[in-house]
């Protein structure tokens, strides 16, 4: 049994970043490929079901990227999310190269998962209602958190920007925003149980 089976994704990435032994690096990469090759290929098959060769190339490209950037992988906070982001970039690159082909056109236009508001029947009023609900829920929270959350989510400022404006540590801002989101999720779950929808 391979000892890397028991590693978390984060541990795998950190080990790959630290080790200098070729054999070890190969095995770590092999483990990452074993874990994510199929999920990534699955996503690609749902998007471009008609080109198995292209799917293979894109997945290969993702792991080539993992290998190329192996020294920096320790700083990746969420390896699974990072892999999906890399996949998204690689997919865009591949589609750009073959964009002359009609069957790829709908890829960019039908990807409502990344940009839900592109949905043809997107209900703006309903969305506004939900945003107001969130804003009402945030209004009852402590001022520091509320301000940090509002600036981050509704004003679109960066964490560093908010920290500079509010004269706070970046980590503090992150904590504030994270806590608000966590609280909101809790509130909506409870609300549902209590019939609040």
């Amino acid at each position: 049994m391979d000892p890397y089976d028991t590693y978390t994704d984060k541990q795998l990435f950190e080990s790959l970043a630290k080790t200098r032994k070729q054999r070890e690096m190969d095995r770590l990469l092999k483990e990452i490929i074993r874990r994510y090759e199929k999920p990534l290929a699955t996503k690609l098959r749902l998007t471009i079901p008609y080109d198995e060769d292209l799917i293979g190339l894109i997945v290969n490209d993702v792991f080539i990227d993992v290998w190329r950037k192996r020294r920096k992988l320790a700083s990746v906070e969420s390896p699974r999310a990072w892999l999906l982001k890399v996949l998204s970039f690689k997919m865009s690159d591949a589609i750009q190269k073959v964009k002359g082909r009609e069957e790829y056109v709908d890829f960019t236009t039908n990807d409502y998962l990344e940009i839900p508001e592109n949905h043809p029947d997107f209900d703006e009023e309903r969305y506004e209602g939900m945003v107001q609900k969130i804003q009402r829920a945030v209004a009852n929270m402590p001022v520091q958190r509320r301000v940090a959350f509002t600036m981050r989510v509704f004003d679109g400022l960066s964490i560093a920007g908010i920290a500079r404006l509010r004269n706070l540590n970046e980590q503090t801002v992150k904590n504030h925003v994270g806590l608000v989101k966590q609280q909101l999720r809790e509130m909506f779950r409870k609300g549902r149980k209590e019939g609040y929808k």
């Binding site: 699955t42 098959r45 792991f63 999310a81 839900p116 989101k181």
Partner: protein, 446 residues
């Protein structure tokens, strides 16, 4: 509504392209209370679930080879390195070319925009327009006639090409070394101006020679490794030699029928006849070497002039040579021949006739018969016909005698073959007695 389980279901519907409008709204609002990474983590969970369910028929095992990944990454890395290197090289080449271009353009611009001493002295509007320039260029057995209407490339002389610039000036362009002669005779390029012609020629090293009418200069085909440029001049010319940026300064040597002039950077007017040479400096420095004892003169100031005269032969058959000291004169006078309108006020008639003889090729035999004290006042335009010159000379009180296309100021010539008895004189007398009046003397009683 926003619990992870529900979000996952929505994501799954999104992946399967079955996202409803309501799902889209929830997903959009979920983006406000979930971090991007959290949503991606949920998406990966969904994908793993789908793999586990084998809903996508992914039973086949692709088994990506780690070795192939490593090799592919190495290849990509090397390719990127090569492309990057090539881009850097191309960039350096482009920057180098641009730099060289800028330097060349700057040099070219400076050469043309920094006015020379002559250009400061004579305004462009006052000069004989370069579009009127004409001359003949000889090289070996070939003769290239440059007319007023000649344009562009006019001919090739060995490793040099003759072009006429848009402004009318001529230019000798040095061709690459493969056009150079390997051996054999290398005839000089000779530029000759006829009557009422002028011609400005830019030499390959950036020097300018502006020839007056009835003048010529010879430019040698460059010898390999030769540092000096040697030009022979006869007649009148304006010479401009630019200083070169070479570590070893090049010297231009101008040979005249009487001595030679050398300069590394200078602008000067030269009048080089068979018997005399006159140099007037406009700018820079010129060293004159003349065939006479103590025959070395240095001209360093604007207007400096030196004259060498080899005029006469004395009773013992010795040739008299005279070299003046360096004197200061009005430089404008030395270049007046380059202007459209030349005004002469009380100038020596001899000088005037000599100058007109050069310009119009009058065919003057000698000016020695013109009285030295005679002067003339005239205004000549460079396009004036020769009749106007004759008119001025006659108006000055000088009788001209034309014979066989030559002009003399010494009275009619005696032609023994055409002598006749005067009217009313008997041909029984001796003709020579009649002509010398001896018959009249004989008739006088003693």
């Amino acid at each position: 509504m926003y619990n992870p389980k529900n979000i996952k279901k929505i994501i799954r519907r999104g992946l399967e392209r079955k996202l409803s409008a309501q799902d889209a709204v929830i997903l959009k609002s979920a983006q406000l209370i979930y971090e991007e990474n959290e949503l991606l983590e949920l998406e990966m969970d969904v994908l793993e679930e789908m793999v586990a369910e084998r809903t996508m028929g992914v039973s086949e095992h692709r088994n990506i080879d780690t070795g192939a990944i490593v090799r592919a990454e190495r290849k990509q890395y090397i390719r990127q390195l090569l492309i990057g290197g090539m881009r850097v090289c191309a960039g350096i080449v482009v920057v180098g070319l641009i730099g060289a271009g800028v330097v060349a353009v700057n040099q070219w611009w400076n050469e043309r925009t920094v006015p020379s001493a002559y250009e400061k002295l004579v305004l462009a509007g006052d000069r004989v327009p370069a579009s009127e320039f004409a001359c003949t260029v000889y090289w070996g057995n070939s003769a290239t006639v440059v007319g007023k209407e000649s344009t562009g490339r006019l001919g090739r002389f060995g490793d040099k090409e003759l072009w006429r610039r848009d402004n009318g000036e001529l230019e000798l362009v040095q061709l690459p070394s493969q056009f150079a002669f390997s051996a054999g005779h290398k005839p000089d390029i000779r530029v000759v101006t006829d009557a009422q012609q002028q011609c400005a020629v830019w030499l390959p090293d950036g020097s300018l020679i502006w020839l007056d009418a009835g003048s010529s200069f010879s430019y040698p085909m460059k010898k390999q490794g030769a540092q000096n440029m040697e030009i022979s001049l006869a007649g009148r010319a304006l010479i401009r030699v630019r200083e070169h940026a070479d570590p070893h300064p090049r010297t231009a040597v101008l040979r005249t029928p009487n001595g030679s002039l050398t300069t590394q950077a200078g602008e000067f007017a030269v009048l080089a006849n068979r018997t005399d040479t006159r140099v007037t400096l406009l700018d820079g420095r010129v060293d004159g070497h003349f065939p006479i004892d103590d025959g070395y003169r240095i001209l360093t100031n604007r207007g400096d002039q030196v004259t060498y005269d080899r005029c006469c032969t004395d009773a013992d058959g010795n040739i008299n040579m005279k070299l003046s000291d360096v004197t200061r004169t009005d430089p404008w006078q030395a270049v007046a021949w380059t202007t459209r309108e030349r005004n002469y006020r009380n100038v020596s008639l001899r000088e005037f006739v000599l100058e007109m003889n050069r310009t119009y090729n009058l065919g003057v035999k000698s000016v020695n018969c013109i009285p030295e004290q005679m002067t003339i006042t005239a205004s000549i335009h460079f396009k004036d016909p020769v009749d106007k010159i004759y008119g001025y000379i006659r108006k000055a009180g000088l009788a001209m005698y034309e014979s066989n296309g030559m002009v003399s100021f010494c009275g009619p010539e005696l032609d023994p073959g055409r002598l006749r008895y005067p009217d009313g004189v008997s041909d029984s007398l001796d003709l020579m007695d009649v002509l010398h009046g001896r018959d009249l003397l004989a008739a006088v009683p003693r």
